[in-house]
Symmetry: C2
Subunit: 474 residues, 2 copies
């Protein structure tokens, strides 16, 4: 037994954090071997698929604060218990309750035609009986921003920006900017309502809903047209005659709702207070059943954790799975988690959320301290047979809700799904189980189980500490 | 001037038909050259695309007997006049008027979920307030046919037969058999209602409507589920607990309606009473705007005729374009045309209708007299640069409505469109302009203009004569 004198102890204690912070984080060979075994096991395990099939069949759409919000939570809690987690609990999440009752649109002139559209989250309703107004069209959000308010006052603004499919889904930046920002600008300019070409990459007559942001603006009616309906409207606008639309949206905010994040944990064998966190969000938009967005994310994390639960011994650190509440209307689950856990954020050693469907993961990126980059490379080496490359040139914010946790100091990795087809289905009625390929989903679980297990076993941390991550590291 | 004696004249007249019938039909080299020129011109002409864009934008859905039936007809008559036809007229078509007012379905148990469905043409409505009944599922129509009536009495029958995509669209035989025949069988067995997996090849949450046939049966409520909804129902059925559905269809037959075939003609310069006939049908199902089914067919024929109208001289025979009324609910337009013209069917020397979308034509087949096969081969040689092969081993019935005309004696060719994607969109809300590739559509017009011009110029006929074609030739 080594005995230290009091001074030596004091010195050691005071320098310990500095030493730990400077020492490269590393992963033992035996752990890499176990991770490779878990990876291969995952490629033959359909726990995640069965989870998505179950929740989409037995619960269905899970609009935040909607009739299935609690049902989805209870279903998930029961499933987490069945998966053998050591602890399952919930943490409250409170947010405004937005309700969609009905929506209807039609072109009145110059050629009467029905329109297929979906109200956006936080859209105001129209007056009872709807409103009729002329449409003013813009090809891009910038063109609309530059418009003289007098040209749109009392009219329906339409913005027709287009997205194209890319593996990295980058055009969602275009579509989501129009959807999120356009309606408030229209409100400020005095428009009667706002329509957009759906933020999607498909040509189906199915609109893509999604949230908009009226912070600082008076909510007005706002809806997305399906791509063929946007084409139709644009053809009429291009013909030069005034285009008049009848819009009737019955929707709006009805007070507040308190839901919950559902959290499950495998308790670490050596450092139970430290944990790797992964997950997805439990809420979905209502036209589909929320399979790719985001039952898949919760299922991937739960499927990975269940494989780790099957090991003879718990890993050193805990493994935490979070099924976040209400991601869709403003990252409420992630923000609540960050708020509740920011004081002990250093214990959240690393995190990664899956929220881009279930197509193959092709890239890992990380926002970790420099001394942990080699450990990420070690993880990436085990992921490599899955077709995943480590792109050390880009940060990884951990994904949607966990980006809010990352923002308060948690180190994060991002496992990037191929998003080529994701925005064909995202936020539309087409977000259903059949869009998930079981083989692709298994590859996702394989990537998560490797990352989770190795983060939980790593010698040294990844740089999590309280404070704004961006200021500290980037 | 040649003068003949009376006896010689008598002999000539009496033997003329036999001589004409036996002499091989042929096409002159100069005509082949003109046809090749028309073909190449068609590849740079967007008349057909502009037609489809116009009618889908300015008229929209054209449900037979629906609010746009007359509007579509008037739009087309005006367009035909503008295209320079020598004569445009209508011929009445009378049929039962079926009306779709609203449709709603949901699974009540074991897991409440909304269902996306579309009532079938001729479906009965449910009682006011809808009906609730347990579902009995069958994988195929044959399995349902074999079912004991006691097992389905008072229940909702579901048949989940699947179609796969093929260039020749052959699986529509599976889907349309379920849709057309299933509901009447369900009625005979005492079922409360009938549901099917949409007769389609896509995975969109958009149902494919279409006609069903209650001849000899009492109409019952009948509807098609979208593919993801069919999957959902099948998963619940597979789980083994009783599945109950609430179905509320407000639809049904409301007396009769008289619409019309719209017919346009370029008058032949030598044999104006004889004609080549081509066309499509003007009616469409109501969820989409009827672009591929079948504005495209009318547009292809009109675009081809317009190119021929631009020649310095009219071809020997007339060129007739027919925009048929109500093909969708039972070939009413084609049958009316056949009835009105069967006495002079020998004058309809050849016909071909386009009713399988607007993807590239890849094959020509013909039902002509043996002595006209060489002429078809001559036509096919001009089509060959378009990627079209002549398959002499199969008949060609002329397509949907014209099959009814072929059945009473008209010789026919079929120009087969690639149907790989057609049943992704067919009869659904996805039948919109964006599904048409202008380049593919031009290839279609090129094929039709060649066929029309050469049939109108051919020396000799193709075998049309009054009577049932099949009995005479096949």
């Amino acid at each position: 037994m080594l005995r230290l004198r009091p001074l030596a102890i004091a010195l050691l204690l005071s320098s310990a954090p500095a030493i730990a912070a400077n020492k490269p984080t590393s992963i033992a060979a035996a752990d890499l071997e176990t991770a490779a075994h878990l990876r291969d096991q995952a490629l033959h395990d359909d726990t995640a698929y069965d989870f998505v099939a179950g929740i989409t069949t037995e619960v269905g759409p899970r609009l935040a604060a909607g009739p299935n919000d609690a049902k989805g939570r209870e279903w998930t809690i029961a499933k987490f218990h069945a998966f053998g987690f050591d602890k399952v609990w919930t943490e409250p999440v409170t947010y405004p309750k937005w309700v969609r009752r009905s929506e209807h649109g039609e072109i009145l002139a110059p050629h009467a035609q029905p329109l297929v559209l979906a109200a956006l989250g936080y859209s105001a309703g129209t007056p009872a009986g709807g409103l009729d107004a002329e449409v003013v069209g813009f090809p891009t959000l910038d063109a609309f921003k530059a418009a003289d308010p007098a040209s749109v006052r009392g009219k329906i603004v339409y913005v027709g920006a287009r997205m194209h499919a890319h593996r990295d889904g980058r055009d969602y930046g275009i579509g989501s900017a129009v959807r999120t920002g356009g309606p408030a600008i229209a409100s400020h300019k005095g428009a009667a309502a706002f329509l957009l070409r759906s933020a999607g990459t498909d040509d189906n007559r199915l609109p893509h809903t999604g949230v908009t942001d009226f912070t600082g603006a008076t909510p007005i009616p706002a809806a997305a047209l399906s791509s063929p309906d946007a084409d139709l409207l644009e053809r009429m606008l291009a013909a030069g005659k005034p285009v008049t639309i009848h819009l009737a949206l019955d929707c709006g905010v009805e007070g507040e709702y308190t839901g919950a994040n559902v959290i499950a944990e495998l308790r670490g064998s050596k450092k139970p207070d430290e944990y790797f966190v992964m997950g997805g969000h439990l809420d979905s938009w209502d036209p589909g059943t929320g399979a790719i967005d985001d039952a898949a994310g919760v299922a991937i994390a739960a499927g990975a954790a269940k494989l780790i639960a099957g090991l003879p011994k718990r890993p050193a650190r805990s493994i935490r799975v979070v099924a976040f509440a209400n991601e869709e209307s403003g990252l409420f689950g992630g923000k609540a988690y960050a708020q509740a856990h920011k004081a002990e954020i250093a214990k959240a050693v690393l995190g990664s959320e899956s929220d881009a469907g279930a197509d193959r993961i092709w890239k890992i990126t990380a926002s970790v301290k420099p001394q942990a980059r080699d450990a990420v490379a070690q993880i990436a080496a085990v992921l490599q047979p899955l077709g995943i490359e480590y792109d050390a040139s880009e940060p990884g914010n951990g994904g949607s809700d966990l980006s809010a946790v990352h923002a308060v100091g948690m180190a994060a990795v991002s496992l990037h799904q191929d998003a080529t087809r994701y925005f064909d289905w995202h936020h539309s009625a087409n977000d259903t189980l059949d869009k998930i390929d079981p083989e692709q989903l298994r590859q996702n679980v394989a990537a998560y189980v490797v990352t989770a297990y190795l983060a939980a076993q790593a010698e040294g941390d990844f740089g999590s500490k309280p404070g704004a991550w961006a200021n500290e590291h980037e």
